[in-house]
């Protein structure tokens, strides 16, 4: 259960095939990097648009941003492989990972607007969306509750003999305090499931700092107690994140049991767009984990020579157009019609009760 540090991870940052070592063609590191980067930019721009629509009163409820967490989230998802029946169980701040895993760009705006065309048909909103049949469970709010669902999806694959499928689940520093998280991780250890748990330690749970959330030095210390292999990573460093998730996903796929990856980063937004997050200290903002992961990634891209300044700008513009188009489409769609709703909660039609049928 050796715990790898971010530095150690950074040292052997060689292009590896990770998720795909055994079957298929290994995806080159550069390709995966670019995919993760693109998803991150897409997520950032999309969420910023959604945030301004919220401020303009066009979105009800709330908007929850992954700002600062895109690299971490997108790297995880970029190491997953849907053809191998991998699972991605996102949480609040995983827009980038969702997009990298393959969530259609329209899903988020449709869900925020409550479009009847969206995956949740206006019944649920914002981050509470998914495509359970496509390896993306739809999160409920209760933190920690989704991890065991991913475990169950992995159990189903095991029963069906779909060996080699990996399930990823995401949690925040705050979510680790839940009993549900504990029970699921313990069960994953006992069942030796190919689970990769990504802990995005963004140093706050709403307004609550880590000092009021847990008493160990680093959450990766929990890994051993569950029989997980633990990994730590600088969550603002896209290359490092990709490398560590590549390793974790590869290990899970290879039957080495569950993996925990703790990323250190900072929530560069409010808890939701209603929150000015003035409680985030200057010290946190100035810390290494307070860096904007997208700026780090841009510098890495230039340094590696994988993109020029002008290419980066072109990508930004392309993505702006994509985002604008998606938002425009979703915004035009109508919401569900209450008069056409069945108001039935059961799939088994004949067992639904008609409380107000006249």
């Amino acid at each position: 259960m050796a715990t790898r540090t971010a530095e150690a991870a950074a040292q052997d940052r060689t292009p590896v095939g990770g998720g795909n070592q055994e079957e298929g063609t290994p995806i080159p590191f550069q390709e995966r990097y670019l995919k993760a980067y693109r998803s991150s930019i897409l997520a950032r721009q999309l969420e910023e648009k959604l945030a301004s629509l919220y401020r303009a009163g066009k979105i009800v409820g709330g908007v929850y941003m992954g700002r600062g967490q895109e690299s971490f989230s997108a790297s995880l998802a970029s190491c997953l492989d849907r053809e191998r029946h991998d699972i991605f169980g996102p949480l609040i701040r995983d827009m980038a990972g969702r997009l990298a895993f393959g969530e259609p760009l329209l899903d988020a705006p449709r869900t925020y607007f409550g479009s009847a065309e969206g995956p949740m048909h206006g019944r649920d909103g914002n981050v509470h969306r998914g495509r359970p049949r496509e390896g993306m469970p739809a999160m409920i709010s209760h933190l920690g509750s989704m991890i065991s669902v991913v475990c169950g999806m992995l159990l189903a694959r095991k029963f069906r003999g779909q060996a080699g499928a990996v399930g990823a689940s995401c949690i925040g520093d705050g979510g680790t305090s839940t009993g549900a998280c504990h029970e699921a991780l313990n069960l994953a250890g006992v069942e030796k499931l190919p689970l990769v748990l990504a802990v995005a330690n963004n140093h706050y749970a709403y307004s609550t700092p880590c000092s009021r959330q847990y008493a160990c030095g680093d959450l990766v210390e929990r890994a051993a107690g569950y029989g997980f292999t633990g990994h730590s990573v600088d969550g603002t460093d896209l290359a490092a994140c990709l490398e560590v998730f590549d390793r974790a996903v590869g290990a899970a796929r290879a039957g080495e049991g569950p993996q925990m990856v703790v990323g250190s980063l900072l929530r560069l937004s409010g808890h939701g767009e209603h929150d000015d997050s003035s409680y985030i200290t200057q010290e946190d903002r100035d810390a290494p984990y307070g860096r904007d992961c997208l700026r780090v990634a841009r510098a890495q891209l230039l340094e590696k020579g994988w993109a020029s300044e002008s290419e980066l700008e072109r990508w930004d513009h392309e993505i702006t157009d994509e985002v604008d188009a998606a938002i425009a489409t979703a915004q035009k769609e109508s919401g569900p019609d209450p008069l056409k709703e069945s108001w039935h909660a059961l799939a088994t039609e004949r067992l639904n009760e008609g409380f107000y049928d006249e």
Binding site: R133, I147, L351
Partner: protein, 321 residues
């Protein structure tokens, strides 16, 4: 050949495992040990790898069932006692019950709840939770009262595309016997007139069916002919069958074993009053457990739950009104 209520539950699971590769069983001590009540006796040996001991983690047990169900499996989760499902409450009502409605993807699994009390079981090994779970949209809640229903309803539950809370009554496990297993039965959702009568309708379910039938026999001695309806499921409630009965008798008593505030008996009374008010010749009555936790001492326990004698007394009151 005689078969008990408990054996019927085992046989239904054996049949499901044999015939449906999607079925597996997850629960504490359900494997080699065969479960705290032996409801899974020998199943781990007969179906290797499909009857699995769970850690003491009810929340995660239900969470994994949800995940496996949405992937097309048909998990059976055994709670060691119904009372411990309180730990899985959130997963049941917020995740399982809402899943189909939120996503359009069904979430079919069965949670078996060994329910109800016995002498000396105390506040935490005796609860009846049908009233709790039925409150929540998105769940089917079954309360089999007979060996036949225990068997057929469990099998039917495994064909339903929704999460099913299967409340099996511990008090019936060993006492209740039938001559064999049925091949057919009423479908889930239909109540059964367990005893025809003309003077009053007694609506009940699960172990209380037997106390109620005893009370009806007692009242027969006094010249009263009580119709007894076995609800079979708490969710849905077969309102039509109750209304038809009340139309014949003009009087309604509803008897349940869960706590008295709200719950199944209140729901039945409220429905019948809304839809069949003019059928009633007397105030409809309810009888439930007493309004305290479930006591340990046999003396207290026997007073806490409805029994044939408290049911008889309430029937007399109803008939006098």
């Amino acid at each position: 050949m005689s078969i008990t209520y408990l054996e019927a539950i085992r046989e239904a699971q054996a049949k499901a495992l044999a015939e449906d590769p999607r079925v597996y069983i997850y629960g504490q001590d359900v494997g080699r040990f065969g479960g705290a009540f032996k409801a899974t006796k020998n199943l781990a040996e007969e179906y290797p790898g499909r009857v699995i001991d769970a850690p003491i983690s009810e929340d995660a047990m239900i969470g994994t069932a949800i995940g496996a169900a949405i992937e097309g499996m048909r998990p059976i989760v055994e709670m060691q006692f119904a009372d411990f499902s309180s730990i899985a409450f959130n997963q049941i009502i917020n995740q399982a019950a809402t899943h189909y409605w939120r996503t359009g993807v069904p979430c079919p699994f069965v949670v078996r709840l060994p329910s109800g009390g016995n002498e000396g079981s105390g506040p935490f090994h005796s609860q009846c939770m049908e009233s709790l779970y039925s409150h929540y949209p998105g769940l089917v809640v079954l309360t089999p009262a007979t060996v036949e229903d225990a068997y057929t309803m469990l099998l039917e539950a495994l064909t339903i595309d929704d999460p099913v809370i299967y409340c099996e009554h511990k008090f019936l496990y060993y006492h209740l016997k039938a001559d064999g297993l049925p091949n057919s039965s009423l479908p889930i959702g239909k109540a059964r007139v367990a005893r025809a009568g003309v003077h009053a309708t007694l609506v009940t379910y699960s172990a209380m069916l037997h106390e109620s039938l005893r009370a009806a026999r007692e009242l027969e001695q006094e010249g009263w002919d009580i119709e007894v309806v076995d609800l079979r499921s708490a969710r849905p409630i077969d309102t039509d069958t109750i209304l038809a009965s009340v139309a014949r008798t003009g009087r309604l008593l509803c008897v349940g074993e869960s706590f008295p505030w709200g719950g199944l008996t209140a729901e039945v009374v409220a429905r019948i009053c809304a839809e069949g008010f003019h059928l009633l010749d007397a105030p409809p009555l309810r009888l439930n457990a007493k309004d305290t936790p479930i006591p340990y001492h046999p003396n207290l326990w026997r007073s806490h739950r409805p029994t044939s004698s408290s049911i008889s007394a309430t029937l007399r009151k109803l008939l006098r009104a």
